[in-house]
Amino acid sequence: MSMATAQRAAPLPVLPEWIEAAAAAASGPDWLTELRRAGLEAFAATGFPGRRDEDWKYTDLKLITRRSFATGTAATHQVPEIPGLDCPTLVFVNGRLAETQGMPDGAVVLSLAEAVATGHPACRQLLGRIAEPARHRFAVLGTALFHDGVLLDLPDGITLEAPVRLVFLAGNRQDATLACPRVLVRAGAHSRATIIEHYASLGGEALSLATTELALAAGARIEHYRLQEESPEAFHLGVLAARLERDATLVSHNLSVGARIARLDLDVALAGPGAHVEMNGLYVVRDRQHADSHTRVDHLVPRTSSDELYRGVLAGKSRAVFNGKAIVHPGAAGTDARQANANLLLSAEAEVDTKPELEIYADDVKCAHGATTGQLDTAALFYLRSRGIAEDMARSLLTFAFADTVLARMALAPLRRHAEQLVVGRLPDAERIREFT
C-alpha cells in the first residue's frame, strides 16, 4: 500500500455492539481464539460491504446494519417436516444444538463445539481454510462468532446410505436474533454422502451467518442440498465453499425462497484432475424480497468440469442478483465449464441483475454460458389456453414448469417434492398446479 493510500484510508470502523457481544461470548482453544480474533480484526478492517464493493453492488445491507441482533437466545421449536424423509437429523435453534435424531453409526456426525473441545484434528486443519478469507468476509465473521455447528467426518471409502439432515432454525419472536450455523465436512477418499441443510424460521427478525466448508478427497462424492425457507423478516448471509481433489464430485442444489435479504456465495475450487461440480439453483422471490446468488468456480488443474443451472422467478417488487464466475487458470487444459442463468419476471416492478463472468487463461477449453431474462412465452400460453386451461392457471403452470427444470435435478425424491411444494405454494392457483406435479 502506498503512503498516499494509507493516509487517505479511513479509520477502522468500530464494530457494532451486538457483534462485540457475540464475539465476547465465543470461546474455544487457543488456535480457535487466535483464528476468531484475526477474523474479527479482518472484518473490522473492511466493515460491512457497501454499494462500492463490486461484489455487493446490487445488494444493500442497510436493513441489517441498522439493526442489532441478540445472540444465544432460546426458543421452543418444531422441526419442519419433510414427508417421506426419515433420516438422521440435527436441529439447531439460533446456533445452539437443540435436538438430535437417529445418528448414524461410526460417530461421523459430531457437534462442532464438541469436536473443537475434544481436539478433533479436522477442525484445526480445515475450519476457515476452505472459504477464502479475502473473498468471504461473512465467513470470516462467522468464524469469529459461531457457537456450534456440525462436523461431518467421513472416513475413506464409507458410504452413508441415508442422508444427514441439518436443520437450522432462527428467530424467537421477541428479539432480533443472531445465529451463525457452521458446517464442516471432511469427505475421505471415495466416501459418499448426501447432506441436507435446511434453514427455516421460528418467527420474528433474525440474521443467519451460515458458513459451510466442504473438503472432498480423491473420488469422494457429496450430494448437497441447501433449502432456505426463512420468514420474510429474516436476513440470511450464506457461504458455501468447497475444495475438490482428484475425481471428486460435488452436486449442489440450492433453493432460496425465504428471507427479506438472502445471499449465498457458492465458491468451488476444482483442485484435482477429473473433479466435477454440478450447481443447481433456484430463487423464487416476491413482495420486497431480495435474493443474491454469487457463484464462483476455479478450474485450477487440467480436466475439470462444472455444470451450472440457476434460475429465478421474481414477482412483486422483488429483486434478484446472479453473478456466476468461472475462472480457468493457466494450465487447466481440457476444462469444461457450462453455465446458464435464466430469469422469469412476473411483474413489471421486479428486477434482476445477472452477470456471467468467464476468465480463461488456458487453451483447449470448452466454456459455454448464457443469461436470459424475460416473461412467459406467449406461444406456450396460447397453446395451453387453446386446450381449455384458464389463463391464470396457464401462467402458473408455465411458471412452475420453468422452475421445476431446476428441481427435477434433485435426486432425493422427498426433498424434490418438498421443494416443489414450496415453489407451488408461492404461485397463484397452487391447488390446481399440484394436480400437475
Binding site: A379, F382, Y383, R385, S386, G388, E391, F400, F402, F436
Partner: protein, 251 residues
C-alpha cells in the same frame, strides 16, 4: 354451426383477412386451400382466439354464440379445437397431465363429472393406439423433443381425446411423410360425424386424398375467391394457384 361474415383481421400493421365469409354446417368438412401468405393460418388463428391477431371487422357466430367475444379457453370448452401448424414445446408440463386437465376442464364446463386417473388413462391409451403412438409419449413434456411428425400426431391425439364440435386443422399435413400422413388422416377420419364440423387448412391437395372434404375453398389475398367440391382441389393441383389469384385481382 359456424358462420363467418365479412371477417377482417390484421397481424401488427398487416391487414390479412379482408371481409372473408364462410358458412360451415354440422358434419361438414371444409378444406381451405391457398398459396402461402393468403391468410389460411390467420383464419385458423382467429377462430381459436390467437391474441396477437386483431379482428378489425365482421363477425363469427359459432352455434349461435359470438365466438369473437370468447376467450381462447372458453372457445376450447365450447368445443372448438385448433390443431396447430407448429405445436409448441413446453418442457416441464407433462403431456398427459395437460391432456387430462384439458379434458376435465371441458367436462366440468359441460356439467359432467371429471374422469379419475384410471378412467382417463384407459381412454388415452385407446386413442394412442389409433394414432400409433407408444406409451413413452405419456411421460414426456408437451411436445418436448418430438419430431415434426410426432407433434402432428400428438395434436390429433388431443383432438381424439377432446372430441371437439368444431375442429380446425392448420396444415396438419405439413412435414409429414406418407405413412405419417395416413396415420394422421385415419385419426381425423375416425372423428368424422354428423355433429362434428371440420375446417381443414392445407397448402397441398395430397391431404385431401385421405381426408375427403365436402367443400373446397380457395383463399387468396385474404378472401375466398373460389368455392367448389373436391374436384376443385384436383384442378388446383394441376393448374396451381396463379390463375385464381389473377381472377381475384380482376374481380
Amino acid at each position: 354451426m359456424l358462420s363467418i361474415k365479412n371477417l377482417s383481421a390484421r397481424a401488427g400493421d398487416h391487414d390479412i383477412l379482408k371481409e372473408l365469409s364462410l358458412e360451415v354446417g354440422p358434419g361438414e368438412v371444409h378444406a381451405i386451400m391457398g398459396p402461402n401468405g393468403s391468410g389460411k393460418s390467420t383464419l385458423a388463428g382467429v377462430l381459436a382466439g390467437r391474441p396477437d391477431l386483431e379482428v378489425t371487422g365482421g363477425s363469427v357466430s359459432y352455434r349461435g354464440h359470438d365466438l369473437l367475444a370468447m376467450e381462447p379457453e372458453e372457445r376450447a370448452r365450447e368445443g372448438v379445437f385448433l390443431a396447430f401448424q407448429y405445436p409448441v414445446e413446453i418442457p416441464g408440463v407433462n403431456n398427459v397431465y395437460l391432456l387430462k386437465a384439458a379434458l376435465n376442464a371441458l367436462r366440468k364446463h359441460r356439467g359432467e363429472s371429471e374422469l379419475d386417473a384410471f378412467e382417463f388413462l384407459a381412454l388415452v391409451k385407446d386413442k394412442m393406439k389409433l394414432m400409433q403412438m407408444d406409451d413413452s409419449f405419456l411421460n414426456r413434456g408437451v411436445n418436448e423433443g418430438f419430431s415434426g411428425g410426432e407433434k402432428k400426431r400428438n395434436e390429433v391425439l388431443q383432438m381424439a381425446v377432446l372430441e371437439p364440435t368444431l375442429a380446425v386443422l392448420d396444415e396438419t399435413d405439413s412435414g409429414l411423410d406418407i405413412d405419417a400422413l395416413k396415420v394422421v388422416a385415419n385419426g381425423v377420419n375416425s372423428l368424422r360425424s354428423a355433429e362434428r364440423s371440420m375446417v381443414v387448412v392445407t397448402h397441398y391437395q395430397r391431404l385431401l386424398d385421405y381426408i375427403v372434404p365436402d367443400f373446397v375453398h380457395v383463399l387468396s389475398g385474404g378472401r375466398i375467391v373460389r368455392t367448389g367440391g373436391r374436384e376443385l382441389a384436383l384442378e388446383l393441383e394441376e393448374r396451381g394457384y396463379d390463375w385464381l389469384r389473377d381472377g381475384a385481382d380482376a374481380a
